[in-house]
Amino acid sequence: MTELSYEAVEAEKALHPPVSPPGSAGRSGRLKSWLMAPAVISLLLWMIVPLGMTIYFSFIRYNLLNPTNSGFAFFENYIFLAGDPSFWPAIINTLLFIGSVLVISIVFGVLFAVLYDQEFFGKNVAMLLVIAPFFVMPTVSALVWKNMIMHPVYGLISLVCQKPGLPAIDWFAQYPLFSVIVIVSWEWIPFSFLILVTAIKSLDREQREAAAIDGAGPIAQFFYIVVPHLGRAMAVVVMIETIFLLSVFAEIYTTTGGGPGNATTTLAYLVYALGLQQFDAGIASAGGILAVILANIVSIFLVRMLARNLQTAN
């Protein structure tokens, strides 16, 4: 079209009006909605069908091994679940587990982010090493930690402790929940670190320098400038990790199997045990609904935040 004169281009435009610029609800915009249909329909099915079934199952008597036990159960499943001896421990374990992993990953994430925000020799390689645990599959990290690091006799911790004569600790027998928390924290600190180290880059250097001139020491700078700046990123880490941590399962399945007793039974593990080990789909579904409600409380805030971001991006 390089040879065409101005008039010719204008005439061409009149014949084929240019497509509507983004942001305007043009005709072509509505016409291409079918492109979105496959993704929307599959996600809609994924959202509605299983979730609807979970809600339905949670209100009926449904045992996978005993089809004669059927009928509408009202809130029986929920009442039964609340009366299950491992229910309240599971709720407490879930809260303790998620809370601890969140605190640990935020504290270490912030400290590491501040450290790795400085320039030092071989920084990029060192960062790769810190991030690495996030890419290890959960079953591998669980078994490597359980057998090779925390084993009461041959584990590395025991070998180190034996040198000065400290007593060997059987981590998974004496502190089972703590051990699981350690493993899962090791997997999720890299995630928190990666997000916070990205966020800290946008910190205004001049602001820190001004604070330093006004006499703020490194600790004051950390609490009054760095931490507030990272507030938003920390909130994002908390919300995303909470949603993933609610479904942590493989680490418990391969290390403790929910025990000893019910010391490491979380809500996710309880749902698995009730549904796929005891085959009571009704009660397990009631537990599943509880997990969905917990996740929704968090995701309301997250979705609101994302909505605001999408709006400002346009």
């Binding site: 609800a25 979730l51 890419f135 599959m137 493989a250 749902v271 971001n309």
Partner: protein, 271 residues
Amino acid sequence: MNKELTKKWVITLVGWVIAITFFFPIFWMAITAFKTEKGAYSPDLIFWPTLESFADVFARSNYFQYARNSILISFGSTILCFILAVPAAYKIAFFPTKRTQSTLLWMLSTKMMPSVGVLIPIYILWQYLGLLDTIPGLIIIFTLINLPIAVWMSYTYFCEVPQGILEAARIDGADVWKELWYLLRPMTMPGLASTALLLIIFSWNEAFWSINLSNANAQPLTMFIASYSSPEGLFWAKLSAASFLAVAPIMVLGWLTQKQLVRGLTFGAVK
């Protein structure tokens, strides 16, 4: 020696101590993989490396079937994800209407449903549909879990394409598919490739669904490793060798895509 340089050396030291501590379990696993089963219980760093354990892993059970399942599931779900996600992202990025933004937001929000909330119905449905313990069954699940990430990432890469080029193509009469294939594919290739790597990593490491929905036929490597948790005996060298094989390739991919990880998992909440 000036103060700045001393400070830099101190930070270097602290930074590396942390990095090595964090990486140590992985390093230890990698080292143990090259030891004999007897040598695995001693903490020696100096030893004669052997491939014995790898040979044992290959000989024992059907390692290659697990590896094949993992490859089929992660690549299959990634391809399916792209087929569904790219047209949707294209529409949202280039033909936005009043509703597209909220549709995008809704798609992202489906990622926030905890898997455990739908475990029971999916298990029963999959049994009913004959998808339990099959590779297609796991591919479908992983596609649906990763779809919001795929849509979001493709969308952000499409948004980086200058509008003028597309309009020029449209004036020249390019239709949707030509535009996607001849213009957007080459222009967004680096971004989409790293998105694909990220999806492969997530599917490869996914353990919740693969443990619960696979039994004998469709078990991926996550399950193969989990089989070492049985109390019948500890085989550290073999466990390490199997883990090393399952983790090493994915870790390299992970290091290549670490920048995209933030983009893909935070949905733009952190820039």
